[in-house]
Symmetry: C2
DNA sequence: CAATATCGCTATCAAAATAGTAGCAACCAG
DNA sequence: CTGGTTGCTACTATTTTGATAGCGATATTG
């Protein structure tokens, strides 16, 4: 597993620009949804898997390793949970909820 | 190409929750980066391709169709450009730049 | 007119990522 | 021991992405 971190060459990039590294992580299937699900609180491997519509455990595990390496997620007592940084990231993604509601409304017309 | 829109069953979801549809789009490789690149202004197919490190034109085209269907991007006089909604989305993603800088700093330690 | 260059884009095939299913070892409850 | 969880690995199938070549259309230059 290639650990994807800022200031290191990134999938399809090589620039090492931090936000590109972030896009590289968020641009992988399930990562956003996993983080989003963990906002509510810690979840076990299997619960998180269920939250994500039954993703393959192999993919789940790869993602969890990646998110742990990126220090966005950690495995605590009650299961997998967001780190402080992970929570901060999700907080900043929160405006997207409002946006997506408007988006949905417009696309429905 | 399965057009992915809010309130329609979404890849791996089925809930039709708007933000999940958004995650589905942003969770595909290159989409975030393409939108991010277009913030600066319109780009031709080939320029955009270059901005994304030479993505396959086939993938580029599929993404552009998807983003157009989602009304985030349109093909205007000067090339591909963000719609108003696309610009709004990118504006809301802007806090991520600051976050990713901090993230980068912490991970470097 | 012909040569050249760019445009958006398709077609083809290889490589990589993801999905689907089965199952293991460790733990705890009864 | 039985049965239930847990996190996770192994394996194969399918989908997605990557890499390259090249087409038809338009513009530009000589």
């Amino acid at each position: 597993m290639s650990s994807i971190l800022p200031n290191k060459p990134v999938r399809g990039s090589g620039s090492g620009v931090p936000i590109m590294a972030l896009f590289d992580i968020l641009g992988r299937k399930w990562n956003m949804r996993m983080l989003w699900s963990l906002r509510q609180g810690a979840l076990s491997f299997r619960s998180l898997q269920a939250e994500c519509g039954g993703v393959s455990p192999s993919v789940m595990n790869a993602r969890l390793k990646q998110l742990q390496a990126a220090q966005l997620v950690l495995l605590g007592e009650g299961g997998y949970e967001l780190t402080a940084m992970g929570r901060d990231l999700m907080d900043r993604l929160d405006p997207l909820r409002e946006w997506s509601a408007q988006w949905s409304a417009i696309l429905e017309e």
